[in-house]
Symmetry: D2
Subunit: 390 residues, 4 copies
Amino acid sequence: MPEVLFKVDLTKPMEEQDVPGHNRWHPDIPAVVSVNPGSVFRIECKDWTDGQIHNNDDPSDVRDVDLTRVHVLSGPIWVNGAEPGDLLVVDILDIGALPTSEWGFTGIFARENGGGFLTNHFPEAGKAIWDFHGIYASSRHIPNVRFPGLLHPGLIGCAPSHEMLAEWNKREAELVATDPDRVPPLANLPSPKGAVLGNLKGAEFDRIAKEGARTVPPREHGGNCDIKNLSKGSRVYFPVYVDGAKLSMGDIHFCQGDGEISFCGAIEMAGWLDLHVSLIKNGVAKYAVTNPIFKTGPVEPAFSEYIVFEGISVDEEGKQYYLDPFIAYQRACMNAVEYLKKFGYTGEQAYMLLSAAPCEGRISGIVDIPNSCSTIAIPTGIFNKNILPT
Amino acid sequence: MPEVLFKVDLTKPMEEQDVPGHNRWHPDIPAVVSVNPGSVFRIECKDWTDGQIHNNDDPSDVRDVDLTRVHVLSGPIWVNGAEPGDLLVVDILDIGALPTSEWGFTGIFARENGGGFLTNHFPEAGKAIWDFHGIYASSRHIPNVRFPGLLHPGLIGCAPSHEMLAEWNKREAELVATDPDRVPPLANLPSPKGAVLGNLKGAEFDRIAKEGARTVPPREHGGNCDIKNLSKGSRVYFPVYVDGAKLSMGDIHFCQGDGEISFCGAIEMAGWLDLHVSLIKNGVAKYAVTNPIFKTGPVEPAFSEYIVFEGISVDEEGKQYYLDPFIAYQRACMNAVEYLKKFGYTGEQAYMLLSAAPCEGRISGIVDIPNSCSTIAIPTGIFNKNILPT
Amino acid sequence: MPEVLFKVDLTKPMEEQDVPGHNRWHPDIPAVVSVNPGSVFRIECKDWTDGQIHNNDDPSDVRDVDLTRVHVLSGPIWVNGAEPGDLLVVDILDIGALPTSEWGFTGIFARENGGGFLTNHFPEAGKAIWDFHGIYASSRHIPNVRFPGLLHPGLIGCAPSHEMLAEWNKREAELVATDPDRVPPLANLPSPKGAVLGNLKGAEFDRIAKEGARTVPPREHGGNCDIKNLSKGSRVYFPVYVDGAKLSMGDIHFCQGDGEISFCGAIEMAGWLDLHVSLIKNGVAKYAVTNPIFKTGPVEPAFSEYIVFEGISVDEEGKQYYLDPFIAYQRACMNAVEYLKKFGYTGEQAYMLLSAAPCEGRISGIVDIPNSCSTIAIPTGIFNKNILPT
Amino acid sequence: MPEVLFKVDLTKPMEEQDVPGHNRWHPDIPAVVSVNPGSVFRIECKDWTDGQIHNNDDPSDVRDVDLTRVHVLSGPIWVNGAEPGDLLVVDILDIGALPTSEWGFTGIFARENGGGFLTNHFPEAGKAIWDFHGIYASSRHIPNVRFPGLLHPGLIGCAPSHEMLAEWNKREAELVATDPDRVPPLANLPSPKGAVLGNLKGAEFDRIAKEGARTVPPREHGGNCDIKNLSKGSRVYFPVYVDGAKLSMGDIHFCQGDGEISFCGAIEMAGWLDLHVSLIKNGVAKYAVTNPIFKTGPVEPAFSEYIVFEGISVDEEGKQYYLDPFIAYQRACMNAVEYLKKFGYTGEQAYMLLSAAPCEGRISGIVDIPNSCSTIAIPTGIFNKNILPT
């Protein structure tokens, strides 16, 4: 087993860990450990909510979650020799659950808590607990499904530079300013409330807490991309913006459908990642890299048959949108939900299933004015009964 | 070989065929042939432009294409016993090229002709010709790639009811009315110019030509969905809206990346489909079907490794959008284009390659405000050289 | 469609074709056509029995088959520039059925006709007819299965040199001599009876008919290898032994399980192959090639689940053999047959199904004295009902 | 993490473990633990040689291995309620390495030690050490390859009944009697030397040590089948012969090519299995089960391209054998070895690579007298350079 360079104690919140991580992006959060290119090591991670959700049948913890605390990340890791303009090559050698925590959760966030992709249909909080059985997960809250995991870090990336951070804060503030009183807000701007910044204290804590970007959205450094295919065996090429790269990660998912649609929608878990790091000097310019790129891994679960649902960019009231894959994907997902209800699932169960199972969500057509066509493809093999029309 | 129920002569435009097809959607276009449930038959199709694009190196035909003539469809096919509310089950048994026409084309539409997904970057018309070599395609205009086809009908569906057609025309007109002078328009409303309506003539032609919906967008009946995975061996369940179902199809693609991003972006071809049809009576209600659903086929080309590019919903000027997978996919595609340019491709070549090759375009994250994350995954095996960073 | 360089008329036996092929291996059979390296062309083939088996429900044609006439091959094809020691690179671009002959057959050979792999259990002749439905096959004689084809030429290879032919005849005669009166014989030695040798006549016909090797076994040039994975999209590297290479082929299979166990055990068909040829000069020595090697193709049917049966090298009477994968595979196959009988199949149906469906037959363990372990893996997706224990 | 029902201390030989396992098959070896149907648990296993092989560059440990001690097994596990005639259903939920032992070995056994499949070519002992990097393995002794594991227990099965054991001993003794002085022997008959039988002592130990079958060969209960596809996520159905089933297992492999050709030929490792067990009462008769059957798992490494080598049943001296897949597979393997030598590997490296990597070894043709055709298919993706002819 590789050396564990970042440990977590699941009984304690992130700020009380022996070596605390962080939940904001900022170049000045000190690194907690350093590694050499070529080294292999293990990083443990808490679940993204810092342990707020419990293995029980009561969704009130999802309803009452404190989102100022998300996502708790492990890191930053200093990579010796990394400089701005380099590509940090990260091999995700393996991912697993912590031995004392072989379960995960999928939540539907209540509308007042930000909601999810189908919040107009499912405005109440909901929760499904998943038990891991080796490579498989099943849920006492969603019957008749069992599937192998497609484990991946929902969130991973290098620290931004000061300039990049300033740009993030500026553009997101401009967006919020277009509708400042919106509930939920259009974006989560920096906020000291709930901030965890490693061992920082005092004025430095206050400064960074005030400036640090929230971890919610994916950005050009990667971050909370929630890409299900960034799984075991992947090789990721991250742009480096600051000396030492300052790599952080968290939000491990046992599995997820494309879009992670119920927001807390993957099978969220605590766990660990085994990583190998190396550098491509000046790789950013050499390969014209803006966002991270990655090579997929070889052990994604194999499914040979999917049932596919289409959606177009006309909303449920019949309003026509122009090439809008968001609306189209909502319609595809709702078409799948309505279909699954005919097989005995509640709408909430179907919603969480699409969110958590290894479903393919594709931008199938994006140029045929005025409708885009989005599709969601569900592997039929995850069900223990026939799910096709007969 | 199954009986050919719809033949095409590639040397003649659609209206001069022995049995002409159509290029508008309308319930009153007469069926050209009838079939019984349980039967197997072949339908030949012209390419979507009705033969306007030629196998040469000059993109002026793409630039000057007459889009009032698209898409020329084969049909309608009357299915005996089909009634509104049924599901028409269509097995796509096989798809192929016509023996005299084993080539296809990918076009970049000029901005003044509607453009494509990346038209701001590629405003000029472009064209790549692909030669088919059995299961493979290669192009003299895009070197160092060869890949097996993922053949599919870009467009297939049943005729709308009068009510549905009226709804389409109403909602699309309302969209156009929000910016009526826009060039290109927000949608293509019904227009007699260029209409082909089987053998209809006179007043009935005029009425239907004036009412018939354009075939450009996908709609709830299916239509021009451009779903690459609706390929050989798929089983599709189409809602039926009119007696006899009136199934039509066309726009065969040898292959396509998700989104068909350059608009004329698949490998467009003339060809044939072998189909088997059956009915599920009252299937629409039984399975709560709104749009078509389908089961995927078993012979999609196998790729075990992809290189993936991410994009987020911040445009190139740095403007932040709210959960916009359209912008995010544009950024992912442009990231891929810039990367491929480092391997010797022109931007136009890269654009057409992403559009035509079997790339996966996914809505990876859609809930992490304010950024959605879209990804485009290119199979590395389509290149005859290493395309990974080294 | 590529130019057809070898045509067949299915209504006529091979010797009456306009350009007859051959059914013996000999370097002096004249080439029927020549091609340049780099060219693409189509070759049509009769089924291996030269049309002796008919699309009906009566297996007497299988019982009474004249095996002196097999396998009728299309060729030889002269490749310009090919010399002994080169590698002839053959891309199998596509394979298909002839439009008038979209069906195939699987036969059980009677014991007196040579029998098959399980002839002790199934000594009587049997036959199953398969109908092709695009990419799929199904049989009125074996219910509840349907599967996509894995088309391949059962037999393909270059002509042997005189020295190689002499070696074949010598070693096979020596084997026969160890038990010369055995019925069936240990090998089929050269025999003029039934020989077809292109347009040869007179003394030259008599000489070659007397010397020409039978086509039944695979040999170091390839020949009747019956490798199911030598399918669409494969690239094969054949050793060249004579000037012009003299490539011949036939025995097209719509599908086959590993071993082709019932002898006439694939889904045998007439059909065509589209080929591209090129040369690697002196490739035999460069790559130390003895037998042909090949790269697999990308469109093999995808199955994600198999049910696997094991067998060991102890025969049904309890006799222990030493590391004998032949006995072990017989036991694995019989275990599968007995299992399938519990799901309603007759033994003969199960035997033909294992023989014709895309089953994996593996030498799983070959060193654990005294037992080898062979396995046969059946894709569960070929059945339209659950085939697993419950 | 499931409860560990069988622990191993890698610093001690099997007989000194707190709860020792066994290395002989006998119905009277006492169970070490009992489980209920429906339970999930973890079993740790030592490597098959009981720790005789070391992580260094010296193959003398392979040369001098004491084979009287193999295979050390964990168990027997008593399954409550299991009776003869039942099927014991074992879900292999996951398999992994022990945290202190993330490496494995592949050995070539010297001829005097039993040798391997190609011992005539490689009579000397050899060894390759593999390091595990998460899902991947690589070897400092075999350069330029890295591949994901296909972990499986080489050996797993239920205890035989007394009658079955007597049958094994009888038939194997009869085989040995045909050539009693052969070196190596045709089979390993029961021998007290090296026997480990749990906590048994005294007369009972002596009796069972004298009767107990060696674990080397696979037999009808399963045992040392060395089936690479019996991997993570598989569901196995084992016949039960004695009350409590008495399930034992060991010989974990990180990966293996079909045949495990160099004898100690997989990537041999210590490790653990997470299992779920249940029962199908009277399942043996219900499903006509003789040997175990299994359903494959969903996370086998995906390879989309293989290079395939053929072999026929003519040995290297040119002698013709009759339908002998053993000889044919030897020739296919040697063809692959000779080819790989052209790419810079030594013969020994190539031999161990074929043995340890996830190669497919198929009985491709088994009926075309007198030659069978065996093939070995190597995934090209395991090499970090091009391995195809150019």
